[in-house]
Amino acid sequence: MNGHSNLLNWILWMPMIGVLVVLLLPRNKEGVIRYTALINSIITFALSIVLYMKFDPTTPGMQEYFKVLHPWISQFNINYSLGVDGISLPMIVLTSLLCVLCVLCSWTISKSVKAYFALFLFLQSTVFGVFMSLDFFLFYVYWEVMLIPMFFLIGIWGGENREYAAVKFFLYTFFGSVLMLVGMVALYFVSADNPSIGQNTFDILALSGGKFTDLSLRIFGVDISFAKFFFVMMFIGFAIKVPVFPFHTWLPHAHVQAPTAISVILAGVLLKMGTYGFLRIAFPIFPQASVYFADAIAWLGLINVVYGALCAMAQTDVKKLIAYSSVSHMGFVMLGLAAMTVQGMNGAVLQMFNHGTSTAMMFLLVGILYERSHHRWIVRPDGTKGYGGLYTQLPKYSIVFIIAMFASMGLPGLSGFISEALIFLGIYQKYTTITVIALLGLLIGAAYLLWMFKRMFFGEVLDDCKSYTDMNAREIFYMSPLIIAVIVFGIYPSPILDVMKVSVGNLVSLLAKFN
């Protein structure tokens, strides 16, 4: 394919156009604002589908056809450079899809609608920015700017403890990105001395490929490998976002307090930014260090899986339970990354996508239920049941819930299975013990979901639940794309695997050189 396309620019700035339009609309025209946001996100989604269609799955690395490169701050060799490859494409499509659904599920927001949708579209744009940037500086800017709308969206439209959650989320991620900043700046200064780069640069592609293996640092009189030191820094930065075990505690707070749509974006997209950071930055730039720390990453991933699952089992708040299940599922992604085999990596990227759809379903469903019941207790703090007999009361809702739940626990035929099977196949080749324990995590994963389902859905209908109405047309409408995605990609995953396998394979072969 010759020529050049500005499609990435369009996708990136389309939500920003939406922000402008929303801001120009009068505050009391709420309907118009909602429809503007919806139409805008649908256009963005359509553009991302066009991107998917035009994408050439045989090219490893960044696609020349879509590359966008303009000097931004030329004094420091910072460029506005965007690109797409097989790893970022599924994420872009996922983001644009989820944003459409989130706009629909935010229909019932009534508190300053204008500001909400403006911030939401702004958030969407920044997330695209993270997934598209090829310049580390640009990446960092988007990574940071993303926090601002998120902070307000949680802090203003959240639950009863929202300020705490928002501040916690902000500080946590900010801490991580500061570490990342250190790494970024260090790379910038070191890059000029590297013969194969030759100038100070933030260009991710130029930096990647394991060019900093021989450097060392002297800190407090101890020689430390440059790559290892800054890999750890970046690891923490990304790990907070994933979140990997010791840094996971922002997640339950943020997920529980955030409004439904924001929980969906948080779990569906933002967590993937962490693992995307590994795939795009940490692994390609420091392949040797990645291989060196693979064991540690695998163990951390394992802890995530088991710890998240065990904690989830004890939760009595549905949303918190699902938040912990996200911790557990992202652990699988970490395991796949740590495997550094073709199956594991592909499985990890696929799991990123699949977790995005299945967990989005779960959060949307909890949001639907919350709109009816205004609480989220499976078991209230005083020991009585919060829900009961929902199966009888809400039949359609229950069917969708079953699909989401089984997709989340990896039932074959639904999307979670293939990615998890690939991850396990990848990790088993390297770490047998870890695999066996992680599979136990899978078992617990089924346990807490089924137990929750049993407590909420079976049995006689509680008196409180008798007033709940079943899903309305709008809710069914925005659930249906996810249902279709979960089933179709469970049966036929090739549409996603085909676009990413070459890019992922490229990364795996890079890592294999240092193995």
């Binding site: 505690t249 710890y307 904690c311 089992m313 004890a314 690939l422 599979l439 995953p493 695997l497 992922v504």
Partner: protein
Amino acid sequence: MEYTLGSILPIVLGPFLAFAVNVFLVKRWTKLGVFLSCFGMFVSLFYSFRIFKDFVFGKYSTDYYVHKVFTWFDLKAAGISDFAVDMGIYLDNMSAVMLFMVAGCAFLIHIFSTYYMAEDKRFGRFFVYLSLFTTGMLGLVLSDNLLSVFIFWELMGFCSYSLIGFYYEKEGAGNASMKAFMTTRIGDVFFLVGILAIWTTVGSVRFTDIYAAISSGAFDGLTAVGIPLATFAAFSIFMGTIGKSAQFPLQVWLPDAMWGPTPCSALIHAATMVAAGVYLSLRMYPLMELGGITTFIAYIGAITAFGAATIALVQTDIKAVLAYSTISQLGYMVLGIGVGAYNAAFMHLITHAVFKACLFLSAGSVIHSLHDHHTHAHVQEMPRMGGLRKKMPLTFLAMLCCTFAIAGFPLFSGFVSKDRILGDALVMASHSKAYWIPAFLGFTAALLTAFYMFRMMFLTFFGEPRDKDLYDHTHVEKLSWNRNVPLLILTVFTLGAWYSGNFFGAWVKVPGVEHKEWFATLIEKPHVEKFKAYKSLPFGSVDTGADRVFEESHYDPDHGMSKEEAHHVHLIHNIGAWASIVIALSGWFIAFMMYSKRSWNPGRWVNTFSGWYRALQNKYYFDDLYVKGVLQRGLLPFNNLLARFDMGVYDKYAIDGWEAVNRFFYRIARWVDNVIVDSIGVDGTGASVRFFNVILRTFQNGKIQFYFIVFLFVMVGYIWKLV
């Protein structure tokens, strides 16, 4: 016979399309949906019968098979990986027989369900699940690799979950369905480990590739987590069997699975899904042998057979008796695998599927007829039945035949298959002391089986009605075709003649009668060496398997044995067969004396062995151990502790604690500040302190004009420097 896509795929696609369409019909066009399900099943039955016919009556060698593959998805990237996940269809004699059995049973049960479930408010939904389940089971049988077995396996697990929880208004159904899914999933997880181990070692999970790998020694010398890899993989896969086929120690879910509607118990929890576990072990038999876990398997099977049979002795719920007898019979199959009775184990799988399906359907008709007018519930308790044979003669006939079959009476199918297993167990016991216990348990269990089955018969159909009110309200059975036809057909197939050319079973040779058992001729252990030069065909191509021309079967019970050895085996088999007959009869006799003639009082036994009785009633306390012990005392408190630690300790102190640390540092800084400033003040430099103080205070006086002056002077100074 050449097989193309069109002649195999309808088997799976029939029920699957019925399911897919049915999902949308379930609310409005229930009747149409039900019809579609049955029709899909019929299509499936038709095609599987064609295959069955070709394989059984066609002139194929015993190791003829059809194998077609297609790529499901791949991770191929030039020069980096050529990993691809292939799916395929594998047909050999075993799967042909299995296919016919599954399709047949499923079809009949579909028909029966149109009678049984007709008044249920979720009539349509039941058929949706049933169609999906049948898809899964048929897909499993057609699978050529472990991964697709696993996929269909889990799919069936999901259907089983949904059907057990079919009456979701009841709390107990929820518990039972969760228990069933979770318990089987324990096995599934191990199964997945086994798949991973094999996939990593062999590079493929196709049965044929695994056989080839076994024969070429790919597993030799490898270990995993400290034990030989073959043992590890075999054990893991066998754990899948334990979970799915409800073997000890994961047997606890199957009795609870009776919460589901009776036809679903018949199909899923008796005939097909639970048998899939055994089917898997049979498929992977070479690996089990290589891993050296056959003794272990034999013990598990024997313990299960015996233990479940003992529990069945004290059950009063008619479905519970059948559930435990299912576990017990599955134990027999596993025992058969353990003692190397490959053929017999598979045969028992088939015969058991037929007679157990029939038993459940009969029990279903009994339950359906007994309607308590006070509680508006169907009655399942045997103590409230009795004398029903007059009111429902057809059901009585069907159930009697099945009871003869399961108890192992001659002329019936159970005798043919079960006694072969017991005979082989005895042969093994004669070779190795380790097998004495399985063999002994097997025979004891046979006695118990005969006893509790006849106990059930006597309590249900004979004697005087014990609940007169209930009996009077019971209608004389209606001759509705969709109830009777399935029962009759299944009853006919409980006869042993269908499975053996010899009414007395395989091993009793009547002089002059030719050895004609199709079953024994067809089903053979996979000879792994034959798969070395094996090639699978791509999906689109026409099968050329017929080129592997007819080859006289070398199957012969005496094949490869010395004369003395063969004689010994025959002798033992004969002993086993006669012993079985005696045992079955004595089981009948005890039951007759206790429950029909009432000469022996069962209450005496209960009093004598009251401790055992309680243990049996509590199912050997396994449920208590798992639910109360492991879950309520172990896992859940631990989880709560962990979650509380996560939010209450780790998050509160380790994370939010940073705030306190910050404040602490701030305090230190302030303290240092104070101390240093103060001490300098004390040391006589107070003037300077005051000076700075004054300056600072003056600068911070909040007076705009002052700020302005300061600003002005600074600026002036700057300009002065500049000019």
